[in-house]
């Protein structure tokens, strides 16, 4: 029987985990009264679901519908005038939702806030591009990488991947070396789909190194002239390259008779 491989998360996994291993959590601190962060929490008020300080950043959990409102409050009332980063984390396998975050910076106070919300699969989020222009590229990247649609974005289009790409590369369901579509992308695009059979998977990847290939001199130490027949015997190596190779035969190395 074939080994069962979960399809919802095809990323690398630890090959061994101790059954009794309890994963600790990075300490979360409460927001102290009277601090700058306490004022931020107060300004947001009832929209807030949860707030704590994790590694000197204030983390604010909100509902996905309120993102524009909360970030507008942060910008206009709390002085968070820069949106450093925005992206998402894929939790589709476990909870069927994405975690979206916005990393904001207050230049005057040198404080950072992270606004976090959980967005169900298939729902769209409101764009914060009217508040922060930097979200223009960041939201496009999020759309490209996760397929999360952004409402009222001026130009929501793939940014890093080609426009005609299928799939969203940073999803946990997307394999590291690409899916079927990715591996045939160039062939499909240049020659057409019907050429998949003619070219075949063995010729698909131009960077692939074939041991029998005499034209690319990929066998160090056993090169043959360009285009020559390769008969598979590896004795007729070229002398000069032998020097570059370490000879691991027994005669060349010295073995001690007993331990020192």
């Amino acid at each position: 029987m074939r080994k069962y491989v979960p399809k919802d998360n095809v990323q690398a996994k630890a090959y061994y985990t101790d059954r009794f291993h309890v994963v600790p959590r990075v300490p979360r601190e409460k927001v102290e009264e009277g601090s700058h962060f306490a004022e931020v929490v107060k300004a947001i008020g009832t929209d807030l679901k949860e707030s704590y300080i994790e590694i000197s950043t204030l983390v604010l959990h909100i509902n996905p519908e309120d993102n524009f409102k909360v970030i507008k409050t942060l910008k206009e009332r709390c002085g968070y005038t820069q949106c450093s980063e925005q992206s998402a984390v894929d939790y589709l396998a476990k909870e069927n939702e994405f975690e979206l975050f916005w990393q904001l910076l207050n230049v005057k106070e040198a404080k950072r806030v992270r606004v976090v919300c959980r967005l169900e699969k298939g729902l769209a989020i409101e764009s914060i591009e009217p508040l922060f222009k930097s979200a223009n590229f960041a939201e496009r990247e999020m759309f490209d990488m996760f397929g999360i649609k952004v409402n009222n974005h001026p130009f929501l289009k793939r940014i890093l991947m080609p426009d005609d790409w299928e799939g969203h590369p940073l999803l946990k369901t997307y394999p590291l070396f690409g899916d079927e579509f990715a591996s045939w992308y160039e062939v499909d695009k240049i020659f057409g789909k019907e050429y998949r059979d003619i070219i075949g998977p063995e010729n698909r990847d131009p960077a692939k190194i074939d041991i029998e290939d005499t034209k690319r001199f990929s066998r160090v130490g056993y090169e043959v002239p360009f285009g020559a027949e390769y008969n598979g015997e590896e004795e007729q190596g070229i002398e000069y390259s032998e020097t570059a190779l370490v000879n691991y035969n027994k005669k060349a190395s010295k073995t001690l008779d007993e331990r020192r």
Binding site: P24, R25, I55, C83, A110, R112, F137, P162, P169
Partner: protein, 409 residues
């Protein structure tokens, strides 16, 4: 509209369809002044840009995806390929983020060496900036002089870690090596050399140069509000009059102990930014000179002691059973940081380089987001290029100092 097929070639650089007398041209992705694989679609009215659309992704290698499939230590050399002009700053930003996540601090000597390498990389990057920027604008000789000094800095890096471009000179929890013999003397000579050359070569050639001033003054003006709004950081933000340097405001490593100034320019144009880069090089050598005595006072320990996360020194691994076991587990399985998330900003030569890491307690990061300064500076191009002339486009791209390794990741 051209119809491209196998028989009739597609003229990629020209779009012959004209609408209200504008012409659309492709600037790049193979243009030598595009600083890498930037494809800039420019709509021109005569010589004036009416619309600019930066198209990126030609160097996309999926580094964030790779981070989810590599253990924390495995991923570190990959960060070299982000901003390949100053690799150590990427290694460092990543290592610092993981260190914050697992809650350890590098020992004193490692901190000194790291700060030295960071500042050396800043000089390397800024020399590269001034070289290519001047070359783009047309001052050929500055390129040669700046690369001469950059070569010395690269030699120093090579003496330290053996690599000139992809350094991987920082490890999570410290640095792998101590400084080689005679390195500090070479560094001191290099600092003096840079100080001298900045004043007597680059500034002498450029600052009062009439052509240089005409090409740079009032070109690529970014207001302070725009700079914040578009996510500009580093020299781009300080060039617009906002004195925000992460080394000063949110100090990491030894920057809180060091004495240096943050140059700010409120000119908001390319010339102001050029002056800023020059001043930053001086500040970097000032920092480097202060670090030399600090190194001599420090204890020789190079890696933090945290057996759960970081392998013991080689000597212990070779002599002590338990250290060898720990090392084996850390190499084969990788370290398992606690569950949690962290965003750590650092001041790379280009701006704010931050790593967001979401850990679920596995040896693989659940999500890693690299906040690259150049990505947002590229986004800014669609705003500041509009209304400028095509000759200034090259100046503005050069002045933003973007590197495509970190734009596309």
């Amino acid at each position: 509209m051209q119809v491209a097929n196998k028989l009739s070639p597609f003229f990629e650089n020209l779009n012959f369809e004209r609408d209200d007398n504008t012409m659309v041209i492709n600037f790049g992705p193979q243009h030598p002044s595009a600083h890498g694989q930037l494809r800039l679609v420019l709509e021109l009215d005569g010589e004036q840009v009416v619309k600019a659309y930066p198209d990126i992704g030609y160097l996309h290698r999926g580094i964030e995806k790779m981070a989810e499939n590599m253990t924390y230590n495995e991923f570190l050399p990959t960060t070299d390929r982000l901003d390949y002009i100053a690799s150590t700053s990427n290694n460092y930003a990543y290592a610092l983020a993981v260190e914050k996540l697992i809650g350890i601090e590098a020992p004193r000597r490692a901190q000194v060496i790291r700060t030295m390498l960071l500042e050396l990389n800043r000089v390397i990057s800024h020399l590269f900036f001034i070289a290519t920027h001047a070359l783009d604008v047309g001052a050929m000789s500055v390129f040669l002089y700046a690369f001469r000094e950059r070569e010395f800095a690269m030699d120093l890096m090579e003496d330290y870690c053996g690599a000139r471009l992809t350094h991987s000179a920082v490890r999570i929890g410290g640095v792998p090596l101590d400084l080689p013999a005679g390195w500090l003397e070479n560094l001191a000579t290099f600092c003096d050399k840079v100080d001298y050359e900045v004043e007597h070569t680059y500034e002498a050639l450029l600052t009062e140069n009439r052509i240089w001033k005409m090409r740079l003054e009032d070109v690529g003006v970014i207001s302070a509000e725009d700079a914040l709004n578009w996510g500009c950081t580093g020299p781009m933000l300080r060039g617009s009059g906002i004195p925000y340097d992460i080394r000063k405001e949110e100090p990491y490593e030894l920057y809180s102990e060091l004495d240096f100034d943050v140059p700010v320019s409120d000119r908001c144009d390319s010339y102001g930014r050029y002056k800023l880069y020059m001043e930053e090089m001086r500040q970097s050598t000032r920092i480097l000179k202060q670090l030399i005595p600090m190194y001599k006072e420090s204890e020789p320990q190079l890696m933090a002691h945290a057996p759960q996360y970081i392998s013991a020194p080689k000597e212990e691994i070779m002599t002590q059973n338990y250290a060898l076991m720990q090392h084996f587990v850390l190499v084969t399985q990788g370290m398992r940081p606690p569950r949690g998330e962290v965003y750590v900003p650092t001041e790379s030569p280009k701006g704010e380089l931050g790593f967001y890491i979401k850990s679920e307690g596995e040896p693989y990061a659940y999500r890693l987001k690299c906040r690259a300064p150049s990505f947002f500076h590229t986004g800014l191009l669609q705003e500041i290029l509009v209304g400028t002339y095509i000759a200034d486009v090259v100046t503005i791209i050069g002045s933003t100092n973007i590197v495509f390794g970190e734009v596309d990741r």
